[in-house]
Each structure stands twice: as C-alpha cells, then as structure tokens.
Amino acid sequence: MSNIYFTKQHEYVKVEGDTGFCGISNFAQEELGEVIKVILPEVGKKVSKGDEICYVESPKESAKVYAPVSGEIVEVNSKLDDEPELINNDPYGEGWIFKIKISNPDEINELMDEEAYNKFIEG
C-alpha cells in the first residue's frame, strides 16, 4: 500500500486526496487483542496531530488513539458500534475508525511509510 502512513503510536492514515482514513495498525490490533468497544471521536471536531481523540478497548486494556495528522474529523465509522471486531478482522479496510480532512499535508512527511513502519515494529 503506497498511500498509507504510520505513527510511532501505531495509528495509520490512508491518504486519498485531501482526506485520510485513519485507524490502528495490524500490529496494534494484534497487541491489543479482541476489540470489544470503540469510542469514536465527534464528527466536526478539529484536531491537532498527536491529540488524544478516541479509544479502542479490549477486555485487557483501553488503547488511546492519537490523531496521526492535523485536520477536521469529517466522518466516523459507525459500523464499529455494532461490530468493533472489524478492527481485528480488517484494520486497514472495514476497520477504519475516522476520516480526517487533512489541514497540513506536510505533516505526512513526518510519518513512516509501510516499509519504515515494518522495520520500526521489528525493533
């Protein structure tokens, strides 16, 4: 996937034009275990890169999700209310969490591409 970028906190943003689909990485969902609840951010909220904006919960823990880039939340994946396990089953597809209108595209350059991220998680 060439248009996907990752943070060190294991969020991703899949860039499509001036918006991006955001979620947690496959590595993150494996670490977390079964997702039983997702607390979605508010649509319309303006966020800065690194803001704590929502939560993904497993029986064991509550993972904070930080905004990978600055922008406005334009849509959330309300399917996750009934099917939080989509994050486990398809983190980069149906398991996306929110869509963000990217306000500063330069911030993407500060993120890792897939290759760099894979190296990062291998430690």
Partner: protein, 367 residues
C-alpha cells in the same frame, strides 16, 4: 527471563507471549473471550508453572506455618488444602497462598510467581526459630490447571485415580500418564476443576499438556492464557496479589476475615488484626458494576460523587467480563460507602462514570 517447561508448547500453539512476573507466558492463544467462555461452559487448560512451590518439612512445620500465616494449619489433615496468607506484623499480605498438607510434618505451599523469592526468604527469616526446613522447589514442578465443568471427564481419561472421590480443596497423589502427580480439586477461575503438579523435563510436560488437549477435543477444550485466567478469577472475585491485596491491605480490609483464626495462638500480625477486628476496618474491598457506559481499568480514580474533585479510592481490578457481559471492578471504599447499591463514580477517559456497589462474587457457578 524465565520460561516454563511448556514454553515451546505455547509457541507451537501460537500463543501470544508476554512477560509476567519474570516469566515468558502466553497471554492468550487465539481469543481471550473464547478461552474464558470455554472454561465457564466446558473446559480449558492453563500453564501455571510460574507459580512457586515451597516445601516445608520438619517436626515443627505446622507450628512454624501457624506462626507465619493467618489460617490454622493445625486444622489440616493429610490430603486437605486451605487458602491462607503469609502476614506482615501489620496484618497485611506478604502473599496469599494455598497450603497442601502432604503428610505429617510435610506441607507444600503454592505461592504467587512474583513473590516466590520474597516468600521463601521471609519464611527462612521469620520462621528460623522453629525446627522445620523450607525448600524452594519452584523450578522443579510443572503445574497445569484443568478448569471447567468438563475438567473431570478429560483428566479422568489420563489417570487411574478416581477423580470423583477428590472433593473440593482436597488432593490425591497418583499417576497421570505414568507420571507421579499431585491432583487437587482447586483453581482460580470460580469453576470446578483440577490443578496438577508433577516434576519432570520439557518432554514429559509437553506430553501431558498435549494429551489433555487431545482428550478434551470432544468437549472443544482450549488452551487458555493469562488474560482469561485474570478475567475468570475476577468474575469470581478471587483477589489478585499486587492488584487487590498486598502489603498495604490487611486480611480484614480485603474481606478475607474467614481465613483469619485469631484463637490459634501467637502469629505474626495477630496483634494488629485483633485490634482491627475490635475497632472495625475503615476501608473494605468491594465489587462494583458500571451503571453508565465505560470499562473500569486498574488504577483509575474512584469518586464519592460527580461534584467532588478529590478521589476517595482507585480501581484495583476491573474490566469487561465476558460471561456475565458486564463492566465491573473491585475497589477499597471507606466503610460508609460500602453498602450494596451505593452510587460511586469511576474516572474513565478523563470523565466520571456512574457505578454502584454490588454483591460479590459477580459470578457464582451452579453446584
């Protein structure tokens, strides 16, 4: 980092390995929720070899243990087990443990992995004046828990011992797949089941582990990790050392007064606990259930009301419980807040969410 003799078995089963109490242990294999449900509805097995085993022998073994612990070891008989606590002079927990009476003047203590070394040294230090000997055999024993309503049927296929004759908190010794084994009807899940202890190498441990899985196939047995062990014990309100009990909480505050035998003679912590029993405790470990949406997590603050900014306590254990399907937790509350139904507030994600004090255990199996 230590590994149990079943480490390679966990790798073969694709267990997700984490560090726990200095051991590399599986936290789950495929699904923590399915593992939890397997134990409630059928059967699951756990590698609990990280637990410590300390053998106490000698003419004054019982006297020594009575001096070091809360419960009355002299009430045990060979083949019986009880739950007990090693106490500090304040009446708080050095550890909680099971005491197996193996024979006259012979006891096996099963202690928490994280505390094994501390307990062993405590026993040597504080029990030194008695004519008794303590040996730390933790590295020698493999311990497997077979838990769930089908546990007996699975294990029975592998032993000549008549498991139906082993009552709750009793044990027998005999052969399991030809291996000399201690078989007790005990567990940390709130379910019926057994814990087995045997010495041997990795090959022998794996042979028994995989035979359990094979013999349990017809019951959809699952290997279970630490996460399910934690949620199962919490549903049954069994305390976890380091979370719910420790060196800052007494036996009475932990609501474990039933293991405290003040009339058994002198013991460490007696004076403090006698006084506390006379005066009453000022805080007590209670269970709560969320009224509003939210999953309570350990160390989150607990508040008296929505308005009050100062917390009165914190969550010691908490989470989503797969079988009862509720968000629950444990916390020490000031005694005036411990009445069933009392509303409290839990700090969750920066806000305060309403909860209420409920009766425990949260789950109790039908007998």
């Amino acid at each position: 980092m230590k590994r149990t003799k079943l480490y390679n078995a966990h790798k073969k089963l694709n267990g997700k390995i984490i560090e726990f109490a200095g051991f590399e242990m599986p936290i789950w294999y495929k699904s923590m929720i399915k593992e939890h449900m397997a134990v409630r509805n059928s059967v699951g097995i756990f590698d609990v070899s990280h637990m410590g085993e300390i053998l106490v022998t000698g003419e004054e073994a019982a006297e020594m243990l009575n001096y070091l612990t809360a419960n009355n070891v002299k009430k045990l008989k060979p083949g019986k087990i009880h739950y007990n606590a090693l106490l500090t002079p304040k009446g708080t927990f050095v550890d909680d443990l099971l005491v197996y009476m193996l024979g006259e003047n012979e006891f096996l203590l099963v202690v928490n992995a994280a505390n094994t070394k501390k307990d062993y040294e405590w026993i040597l230090n504080k029990g030194g004046k008695f004519n008794a000997k303590a040996e730390n055999l933790s590295d020698e024993y493999t311990q497997i828990a077979i838990q769930g309503p089908r546990a007996q049927e699975v294990l029975q296929k592998m032993t000549d011992l008549d498991l139906s004759t082993i009552k709750y908190y009793r044990f027998k010794t005999g052969k399991v797949m030809g291996k000399e084994t201690i078989v007790s009807r005990t567990g940390y899940t709130g379910e019926d089941g057994f814990e087995i202890y045997f010495k041997g190498d990795e090959e022998e441990a794996e042979k028994i582990w995989f035979a359990l899985l094979e013999n349990g196939k017809e019951f959809d047995i699952l290997p279970c990790g630490l996460a399910a062990r934690d949620s199962l014990r919490l549903e049954a309100k069994m305390p976890l050392y380091g979370n719910d009990i420790g060196e800052t909480t007494t036996v009475l505050e932990a609501d474990l007064g039933w293991i405290l035998k003040l009339d058994k003679g002198d013991f460490i912590g007696k004076e403090a606990l006698e006084q506390q029993r006379r005066r009453g405790v000022s805080k007590l470990l209670v269970g709560f259930e969320m009224v509003e949406d939210g999953i309570p997590r350990p160390l989150e603050d607990v508040y008296r009301s929505l308005e009050e900014e100062e917390s009165v306590s914190y969550v010691t254990s908490g989470g989503y419980m797969p079988y009862i399907k509720k968000n629950i937790g444990l916390t020490y509350l000031p005694i005036d807040m411990t009445k069933i139904g009392t509303e409290i507030y839990i700090g969750i994600h920066g806000g305060k969410k309403k909860a209420k004090v409920v009766p425990t255990p949260f789950y109790k199996r039908e007998k």
